[in-house]
């Protein structure tokens, strides 16, 4: 079936202190859909003054919110999950319109996963406990977790609602108030969520401020009245945010992308069975979400002796991808998120060819008809080459994968780890020893073993090397939003005897 573009208001406000407000200087920017480049709506082009207001509201709310019971916070997080779930189709449509991704992904991945992240942290905050240790017969150490206070969060445009749902629930569950800036390409689903949950939380607990990075993102990241910044994006802005945080001596977490290897050992082709079918799909997952995933498995490494046979099937499966109208449920690959992304991907096709990489399929812009002709589409593309080529080293953020071969385990690891980044990796093998040893030797925070692109709330996610630090998801995430209070209590009536 096919959906059509959802309707929007002419313009939207920032959500500050529990209500929608216009930007202080009255400036807005136009947000367009990458599906067909049509206007969606106007969103606030916020500046420092708007950020100040949001930070002030969050600070005013932090004490009472931080003192609410875990029971209460969990109930509210569950309420948000229920609301998103009850409007799943509406959120999916808005997300597809704003980001360009295929509706089958937003219906089956983005929105249901978002729901689950809210529920996971609602549960996590209930089951979790502090600790008490008897250090000696008179001395007890209590460890109590306390919220940091106000958290600034800057999220990306590739999974707008899901990245919001990765960042907000753990911060709120841990008792923090939040000022969140959505990416300027994709402000819509965060706004829709605030409309739906406007009355769920006390005013000031969640604040959403729209705007451009240099005008709104920077004042948020450098604000002296926040206690932490969490950022997902690229390395130079990551460095800047760390500098600002250093002025305030604030903690930060950084998720800065990767160039993830997806390694296929020869045993995958020992049998032509369901597992091999799964492995081939695992290689083609580079095209998932148009390749706009920090963990996109954008380097395929295949063992030499199965290379030709395996790649023949991967190329055939890639050619079978249905690309087209993102609102059509049969479409597998939709539009890239913006014109500048589209142009950047095309520029990589040029340098890839110049460096001698061979195109096995794709390699050009995908020209669709009608209104879609104005959208930003790229054909799923496979480059064959070697790991020193720039297309093997840089995050293209498109449906583009680079494939090369290796001889043995040592060479597979050498290639896999020859990258500045270390976010994700995939290992595919039927060999029980490789199943454990290869993932342990890969310098990356998440290694998928005989699977890829699964993001359960209960598994920690984050990078090694230039992919950043800190983790997201999993109960451990709440500790990135908390202080550790230690109460060291003496039950001894006797003095030390020093004075």
């Amino acid at each position: 079936m096919s959906y059509s573009k959802p309707t929007f208001k002419e313009k939207y406000g920032n959500f500050i202190n529990g209500e929608f407000v216009a930007p202080i200087d009255g400036e807005y920017f136009e947000n367009h859909s990458p599906v067909d480049n049509s206007l969606i709506a106007k969103y606030p082009r916020s500046k420092k003054e708007d950020i100040d207001k949001a930070v002030e509201a969050a600070n005013a709310a932090k004490e009472s919110w931080g003192n609410t019971s875990a029971t209460h916070r969990a109930a509210l997080l569950n309420k948000v999950a229920d609301i998103i779930e009850a409007h799943l189709e509406e959120f999916a449509l808005v997300e597809t319109c704003d980001n360009g991704k295929a509706i089958r992904e937003t219906l089956n991945a983005d929105v249901p996963l978002s729901v689950d992240h809210w529920r996971y942290f609602a549960a996590a905050i209930r089951m979790e406990e502090g600790s008490a240790s008897e250090l000696d017969e008179h001395t007890v150490s209590l460890i109590i977790k306390e919220p940091l206070g106000v958290v600034g969060q800057i999220i990306p445009w590739n999974f707008p609602l899901l990245m919001l749902s990765w960042k907000l629930p753990p911060a709120l569950a841990a008792g923090n108030c939040v000022v969140l800036k959505p990416a300027e390409q994709t402000p819509s689903s965060a706004t829709l969520l605030m409309e739906k949950i406007a009355k769920v939380f006390p005013p000031g607990v969640i604040n959403v401020v729209h705007g451009f990075g240099p005008e709104a993102g920077k004042p948020l990241a450098s604000h002296s009245e926040i206690d932490k910044v969490a950022f997902t994006g690229e390395t130079t802005t990551g460095q800047l945010i760390m500098q600002y945080a250093s002025k305030n001596l604030n903690p930060v977490t950084m998720e800065l992308g990767g160039k993830s290897p997806n390694i296929f050992f020869n045993s995958v082709m020992d049998h032509d069975d369901d597992y091999l079918d799964k492995a081939i799909e695992g290689a083609v997952l580079f095209a998932f979400n148009q390749g706009e995933v920090c963990t996109c498995p954008s380097r395929i490494l295949v063992q030499e002796d199965i290379y030709d046979a395996f790649m023949e099937r991967v190329v055939a499966r890639t050619k079978a991808i249905v690309q087209g109208n993102p609102y059509d449920t049969t479409t597998m690959v939709g539009a890239q998120a913006s014109n500048d992304q589209h142009k950047k991907i095309l520029s990589y096709f040029e340098i890839g060819k110049e460096e001698g990489a061979k195109i096995l399929t794709g390699g050009k812009s995908c020209e669709l008809e009608g209104d879609l002709a104005n959208g930003f589409y790229i054909e799923p593309t496979i480059f064959e080459g070697h790991n020193k080529m720039r297309v093997f080293q840089e995050e293209i953020f498109g449906p583009v994968v680079c494939v090369t071969k290796f001889n043995d385990e040592a060479e597979a690891l050498e290639i896999a780890n020859d990258t500045l980044y270390g976010l994700g990796a995939g290992v595919w093998t039927r060999d029980a020893h490789q199943l454990y040893q290869i993932p342990r030797a890969i310098k990356a925070g998440r290694v998928w073993v005989n699977c890829y692109h699964a993001y359960p709330a209960h598994a920690p996610f984050g990078g090694y090397k230039k992919s950043g630090f800190g983790r997201e998801n999993h109960v451990m995430m709440m500790n990135y939003y908390r202080q550790t209070k230690n109460m060291l209590i003496s039950y001894d009536k006797n003095k030390l005897g020093f004075f």
Binding site: G213, E215, L240, L256, G257, G258, D340, E394
Partner: protein, 120 residues
């Protein structure tokens, strides 16, 4: 003969001069990683802390262009052409409010250029 390893297109140069109207001292820094990564960032000079781990590649309209040493190791055999596209990226780069985003096009350095830069 003088050798360069970066240049800016006339269209990108126009946008750069617009940003210059409001910012006196600027730098470019090549970013990497996710989302808006793999694109050059235009920043106020005093904003980003630079040190010997940042390689200077040359000036574009008097604006110096830097890249981190680690990244340079993978890029050093290429000539960079800084271009511009309509769009707005998602970073702290200063041209974004104008509705444009810088991007990099590249070609391989030729034999003479490689020799000149000591890369042969």
């Amino acid at each position: 003969m003088s050798y360069r390893r970066i240049e800016i297109t006339p269209e990108a140069s126009k946008i750069l001069s617009k940003v210059k109207e409001k910012h006196s001292a600027l730098i470019f820094h090549q970013s990497g990683g996710c989302c808006d990564g793999s694109s050059p960032m235009l920043l106020d000079k005093e904003d980003l802390y630079l040190d010997e781990s940042d390689v200077y590649l040359g000036d574009l309209d008097e604006v110096p262009f830097y890249m981190n040493q680690d990244q340079y190791e993978y890029w050093k055999h290429t000539y960079l052409i800084i271009d511009i596209a309509e769009g707005r990226g998602a970073s702290f780069s200063l041209e974004i409010p104008l509705g444009y985003r810088f991007l990099v096009k590249s070609r391989l350095l030729n034999a003479a250029e490689l020799a000149h830069f000591g890369l042969d």
